[in-house]
Amino acid sequence: MFGVWVIKEALVAILELKGLGKNFGKNVAVNEIEMSVEEGEIRGLIGPNGSGKTTLFNLISGFLKPTRGMIIWQGQEITGLPPHVVTRLGLVRTFQLTALFSEMTVMQNVVISCHLHTGTTLWQQFRHSAETRRKERETEEKALNLLESMGIADRKDEIAAELPHGHQAALGIANALATGPKMILLDEPVGGMNPTETSETMDRIKMLRDRGITVLLVEHDMRAVMTTCDKITCINFGNKIAEGAPQMVCNHREVVEAYLGEEMACSL
């Protein structure tokens, strides 16, 4: 018990939100959120619809600029940076409903997402030099490895839109992984999935942690959240109302009232 405590103390915050807030006109979507995610954990973010979860994601990933507060990434302030720069710093997000480059093949999806590391100039592309071709081959190998680790390498030549739901989710994660992130934000990774697909996807998410990637996920499937996350943050009306271990949060009085309901809390 003591040993576990010591290890947890030694962990460092990879992402810190300090008084982060966002107003849309007079509406306060997110209000002074304080939050700290430690390196290597799987953090769940829960709350009722409209509680500000997606807005918070958009703020962290740079798709929205916060009205107030700060976002600290690995000790460096990244508040207000555009999305592609945030991704380059190692913080990448996925989207609800598994947004993909849907008319391209599975392989092309991941190759494009590897874009950050291809690193060829316009001039090299025009010349199509041996160097460019070598880098392209390397990128394709890397993409294939990623697809293998997600278990969808056999579907590499299929059109992304035609994949079953579970495999689309896997491809969405592969796209995010291709950018070489230190932390992934997953927006409803198991939304609309059947139980088998859900458990496969949750296994993939645990695999991310084993690779040393920190995960922050928004999800409504409470069973999935409770069994996967190390720690859970619950927000309501843009305010943080509880944070802690899954068992603690799901028995928290305010969380039960605002979100889970009596029945749900007991069953978990």
Partner: protein
């Protein structure tokens, strides 16, 4: 894959032979017709380059005009030889495109159309209003290119030499754009169109790529403008007006913009059709109108999508013809 490549080179070789032999077998008027067709091919393909990032700019014909005006000023007023003024004018058009793209990439959908139309018209108004150096409504004269300045050699005032000049420039432009289209940069541009938010989140600088597309697309449109100007020997603002933009849109919608070959097919088919209908010249805009409506209803992805729609057996015949674009 291998077979497709062989097919492609066979068809390209046949096309090349036709293009080289053709001008010696037809009248001067028809040679000029083919020259203008090639100019329009460059224009349509460069337009598609911009549409691959998702923006159907209504300022593309004025970009062609920017190239034409630039070469009129550079080679006409400053007396710089054609061979230098062509790339310089392309660059001028590219920079003009880059300048208007800065505000344009911050608009979306309908506001993008309106803003790009306004930007194009603003540029055209400059040519009309600023009589010095642009010459107002009457435009500018453009000198005839010389192979080696000061030495009488090939006479580019003749149709056939100018045809070959255009042919060489067209081949260079198309192969550069084809390479770009199939490079990682082309893929990233298509990714921006496919899912802009996802593209940004995997680290693609979406606005940067849109501006790059505008720069490169406008550069090649400018080159098309240079070729046009040096054949017509004079340019005026109304040549680059909205009517020409509409023609451009019809070509690209009719041909399709998903593959490289789509716009080329669109220009070639419709221009030849327009020529066949020459006796009914007054009716051509109406025919174009009907074509665009029918295309949007029955063939929303353009002529290029016909093979896959025609089913397997008939599809094969067509596939060979357009495999160039795959």
């Amino acid at each position: 894959m291998q077979k497709n490549n062989v097919n492609r080179s066979v068809w390209l070789t046949i096309l090349a032979i036709i293009m080289v032999v053709a001008p010696f077998t037809i009248s001067g008027y028809k040679v000029d017709f083919l020259t203008m067709l090639m100019v329009n091919v460059i224009l349509a393909v460069s337009f598609r380059l911009i549409t691959t990032t998702g923006g159907w700019s209504l300022a593309h014909v004025p970009m062609m005009g920017a190239g034409a005006y630039a070469t009129a000023l550079i080679s006409g007023k400053l007396g710089i030889p054609f061979w230098f003024s062509m790339p310089l004018a392309g660059l001028a058009a590219g920079l003009t495109g880059l300048a208007i793209s800065y505000p344009l990439v911050r608009t979306k959908d309908f506001s993008f159309f309106v803003a790009s139309f306004a930007a194009g018209e603003a540029i055209r108004l400059c040519w009309i209003r600023f009589k010095v150096p642009f010459g107002g409504h009457r435009g500018l004269g453009v000198p005839i290119p010389e192979l080696i300045p000061g030495v009488p050699a090939l006479d580019f005032a003749e149709a056939i030499p100018y045809y070959f000049l255009t042919l060489v420039v067209t081949i260079i432009c198309l192969s550069l754009m084809y390479r770009l289209d199939n490079s990682r940069i082309g893929d990233s541009m298509k990714a921006v169109q496919s899912q802009e938010a996802l593209a940004k989140s995997v680290g693609i600088n979406a606005d940067g790529y849109k501006m790059l597309a505008f720069f490169i697309g406008s550069f090649f449109a400018g080159i098309a403008g240079v070729l046009l100007a040096h054949r017509l020997w004079a340019i005026e603002p109304h040549q680059f007006g909205f009517t020409t933009t509409l023609y451009l849109l019809v070509w690209v919608v009719f041909g399709g913009s998903h593959t490289f070959a789509g716009p080329i097919i669109g220009v070639v088919v419709l221009t030849i059709l327009g020529e066949v209908l020459q006796p009914l010249a007054d009716w051509v805009p109406m025919v174009y109108g009907i074509i665009i409506i029918l295309t949007l209803i029955f063939l929303p992805d353009g002529l290029e999508s016909l093979p896959s729609r025609l089913g397997s057996s008939a599809g094969k015949i067509w596939k060979i013809r357009i495999s160039f674009g795959d």
